[in-house]
Structure formats: structure tokens, C-alpha cells
């Protein structure tokens, strides 16, 4: 960027801009199209537009502790409409990655635990096992969820929509070794 009189980029901004998909954050012109297109911004503590400017202002803690990043449903409405080619959805992913890696997420946080339970089940057998996901997720957050899920589980079961045989890869060992080699740090 050739503009003069620009502030020196802060550490947090560099960190975010260095993540895949984060590069174009400095191109944002704060038009607000993303916030206006976002189906969940009405419930966010900071709207997508605001989050971007907060990253650029270096407000690391407030951004990485925000609820907003966990309310992103990855619908990409913002990203296809942004006039500056900022892929806000990918930035949201980058912020979630950083929040987890750097310990900004409370241990019982619901969205984080859902994703991490999902990932641990997949890492273990290579495919998603819906029953194991629900059990693990409930135990990590609120065991009463198991009871809440029961009616739906039953409806699916009687319609033959819960797998009878737990899904798994043929060569689980090789798969696990590969994941352990290639995944990033941070996941518990």
C-alpha cells in the first residue's frame, strides 16, 4: 500500500492478514455491505464490518473474545457481495482459529466444543459418527443435552436415519498418523 500517513500495521493485524484468506483485510472500505448481508449480525456483539476495523485497530482481546465470530454460519453472503473482494467468511475462520490456538475461548464454550467434538470424532475414525458427536458434545458442555436430543434421535432412528454400524475408514491407523502429522496446533 502506497498511501502516505498510514499508521504502522499492528502485530495483530499482521497475524490475521498472514492467515490464508486474511490477506485482503486492509482493502476494506468500511461500507457495511457485509453486516447488512449477514443473517446473524443482528445478534452479534460486533458486526462483521466492525470486527474488521477492530482487527485493524489492534483490539486483539476484544476481537478474539467476541461472540460474533461464533455466530458466523459460513453462508458467504458477505463474501460474494463485498465490493473490495474481502472474503469475510474466511477471516471469521481465521479469527476462530486464532482464538482457539491462543486460549481466548472459555472451556465450556458451546460452539467451540461442538466443532472440537466433531473434529475429534473425525480424527479418530475418519468419518462423522452422529451419535458419538452428540455424546461427546453434551459431556463437554451440558449433559442434559443428551436428554434434549433424545426425541429427535428417536424420530431419526425409527425412520432408519441413524447409522446402525458406526462409520469408519479401512485403514484408521494410517489415517490417524497422517492427521497427527499434518494438523496444526491448538486442538484439544
Amino acid at each position: 500500500m502506497a498511501a502516505t500517513g498510514q499508521l504502522k500495521p499492528n502485530q495483530f493485524l499482521l497475524e490475521v492478514a498472514g492467515m490464508p484468506g486474511g490477506e485482503r483485510i486492509t482493502a476494506c472500505i468500511q461500507c457495511g455491505t457485509c453486516s447488512g448481508s449477514c443473517p446473524t449480525s443482528y445478534r452479534m456483539d460486533y458486526t462483521p464490518r466492525k470486527l474488521l476495523t477492530m482487527v485493524r485497530a489492534g483490539l486483539k482481546e476484544r476481537v478474539l473474545q467476541s461472540e460474533a465470530i461464533w455466530l458466523c454460519a459460513s453462508c458467504y453472503s458477505c463474501s460474494v457481495r463485498c465490493p473490495r473482494g474481502v472474503v469475510i467468511t474466511d477471516l471469521m475462520y481465521a479469527l476462530k482459529n486464532l482464538a482457539i490456538q491462543q486460549g481466548f475461548v472459555p472451556k465450556k464454550a458451546v460452539a467451540y466444543n461442538f466443532y472440537s467434538s466433531f473434529n475429534r470424532v473425525v480424527e479418530d475414525v475418519g468419518r462423522l459418527n452422529e451419535r458419538r458427536l452428540i455424546t461427546r458434545f453434551a459431556l463437554k458442555t451440558d449433559p442434559a443435552k443428551l436428554i434434549k436430543f433424545a426425541p429427535l434421535g428417536l424420530k431419526l432412528l425409527v425412520r432408519g436415519r441413524l447409522a446402525v454400524f458406526p462409520p469408519s475408514l479401512k485403514n484408521k491407523k494410517e489415517f490417524k498418523r497422517m492427521i497427527a502429522r499434518g494438523k496444526g496446533g491448538g486442538g484439544k
Binding site: 458467504y76 468419518r127 436415519r161 479401512k170 491448538g186
Partner: protein, 287 residues
């Protein structure tokens, strides 16, 4: 027409009805689907949220499993489609990520080729097979069935072969099988996706808005192309009704179930008896 086929986890679990109807339709339409050997989960939004390396690797392993087959990859789930496509694009865009992944895969005897052609079934039906051919096979047109075409987000965004906000492929398939396709503003609005598990009230509000427009337009059924959209719109309808004091009773079916019906395939083979909101009352006339 032949493809390496990626069903994704849901189609072996809660969306077994989607899988059944895909199999039945593709058999009838002579579309050959070779299920990818030992495929793994695409990681969906979960892996990308926690660890972008894990997310890339999961999708890349499945892509690498297709390196030797000379066919495009067929995907039935919108979320899997989006993941595989995006990781394919990501590896082209970031050589250093590609290098990292290539090294890890090589240790497992897998290799990546330059580019993969990942196609959703909607594209395969419209472009590869062509709607004229579909039309020739229709024996039981679904005349007067009022259908809402609901695409969801990840079928069309961030990039796909159809328009990101005004797609038409599903509309055209449904018209071809004789159904009456209703106009629908919320074609590509979000169904809430994983928020149904992580923030139920927010997700239910999104589902409610979709059901509301669909019912105001007088829909008989909503047609979808994604197991997550199906689950949120169908299995959570009773929760929406109790939270918002509404009385929606809209069957949510896979487009392949409707196509199958128009081809004269039986309800059992199409899994049409497996929805939570029963579809048979409105579909009975077409048997």
C-alpha cells in the same frame, strides 16, 4: 457419464434417503457413480473453524483418492461440495500450503494432481446429462405439485457453477419433471447450518423465515439438495412451531426424490417415507 462419487458422512447416516434416491435416479438415468475408495469426512465448517491445516488436509486426502480416476468428482452434499471446491482452489492459490499437504499425503502413498473437477449433482443433471434427456425419461410428471426450490448457501457460494444469489438449476430440473415451481426470495438464504447445534434460537429464526415464505406462497413441498438444509428445515419444524406459535407442516424432500418419483421409481426405493414431516399425503396423487 461416469464419476468418482463422494457421498459424504450424512448420506451414510441421517440422509440415507438422499443416498437411496440418488442411487435409484442415477441407475435409471445411466449416470455411473464409483464411490471413492475409503473416502473420509470433508471436515465441514468444524475443521475450518478450529484448524485450517486440518481442514485442508481432510479435503485434500479425499481429492488425492481420486487422482487416478479419469472422471470428475460428483458430490451430493452442499457443504462437502463447497469444502472440496474451496480446498482445491486454495491449493492452487497457495503453493506453500500445497507443498505442505503434498508432503504429508506422500507419506501415506497419496499424491495430488494439478486440478480436480468437483461437481454437484445439480450441475451434473443440468449440464452433463442435460434436461432434454431427463425429460425423455419422465413417465409420471408431477403436474400441479407446488414446489419451493431451496438451494441454501454453500451450493452457490462462495463460487459455483450457478449464480450465487439467483440460481436456476434446481428450478429448471423441477420444471422439467412437470412440477409447478414457485417464486422464492429466500432461495439462497442460510438455513442456520451448524448453528442449530451451537445457537439454536438464532438458527430456528432463520429456519422460521424460510418456512414462512414457503408456506405463504402455498407450497406443497420444499425441494433441497443438501442434507444439512433438509435436517434443519424438516426435523426442527416442530421446535419452530412451538417457539413462534406457528403451524407449519411442510415436507422437505430431496430433489432426487422428486425426480425419482417422476421417473416412476417406488416410494420405498426413494426413501420418501423417511421424512419427519410426512411427504406422502401431498405426493400420493403421483404414485
Amino acid at each position: 457419464m461416469r464419476y468418482s462419487y463422494y457421498p459424504g458422512c450424512s448420506l451414510h447416516g441421517s440422509a440415507v434417503d438422499y443416498q437411496m434416491s440418488i442411487q435409484a435416479c442415477c441407475n435409471a438415468l445411466k449416470i455411473m457413480l464409483d464411490e471413492i475408495d475409503d473416502w473420509n469426512c470433508c471436515g465441514a465448517t468444524a475443521a475450518a473453524s478450529e484448524d485450517h491445516r486440518l481442514a485442508t488436509l481432510l479435503a485434500a486426502r479425499t481429492l488425492a483418492k481420486c487422482s487416478e480416476a479419469p472422471y470428475p468428482i460428483a458430490v451430493s452434499c452442499n457443504a462437502c461440495y463447497s469444502r472440496l471446491n474451496q480446498v482445491n482452489a486454495k491449493m492452487a492459490r497457495y503453493p506453500e500450503i500445497r507443498e505442505e499437504v503434498t508432503a504429508v499425503l506422500a507419506e501415506s502413498g497419496l499424491m495430488l494432481v494439478d486440478d480436480y473437477r468437483v461437481k454437484h449433482l445439480l450441475e451434473i443433471f443440468c449440464e452433463d446429462m442435460g434436461l432434454d434427456r431427463l425429460k425423455e425419461q419422465v413417465s409420471q410428471p408431477l403436474i400441479n405439485l407446488k414446489v419451493i426450490p431451496y438451494y441454501g448457501c454453500q451450493m452457490v457460494r462462495p463460487r459455483a457453477y450457478d449464480h450465487p444469489e439467483q440460481p436456476t438449476s434446481l428450478d429448471n430440473i423441477l420444471t422439467t419433471i412437470g412440477a409447478q415451481v414457485l417464486p422464492f426470495h429466500k432461495k439462497t438464504k442460510c438455513c442456520g447450518a451448524a448453528l442449530i447445534s451451537t445457537n439454536e434460537p438464532v438458527a430456528l429464526k432463520l429456519v422460521q423465515k424460510i418456512l414462512d415464505e414457503a408456506s405463504q406462497r402455498g407450497a406443497d413441498v420444499i425441494a433441497v439438495s443438501c442434507p444439512l438444509c433438509q435436517m434443519n428445515l424438516d426435523a426442527f419444524q416442530d421446535k419452530v412451531n412451538s417457539l413462534f406459535g406457528t403451524a407449519y407442516k411442510l415436507p422437505v424432500v430431496y430433489f432426487t426424490q422428486l425426480v425419482g418419483l417422476s421417473l416412476g421409481i417406488s416410494v420405498k426405493k426413494l426413501g420418501l417415507d423417511r421424512g419427519i414431516v410426512p411427504a406422502m399425503p401431498v405426493l400420493r396423487t403421483y404414485l
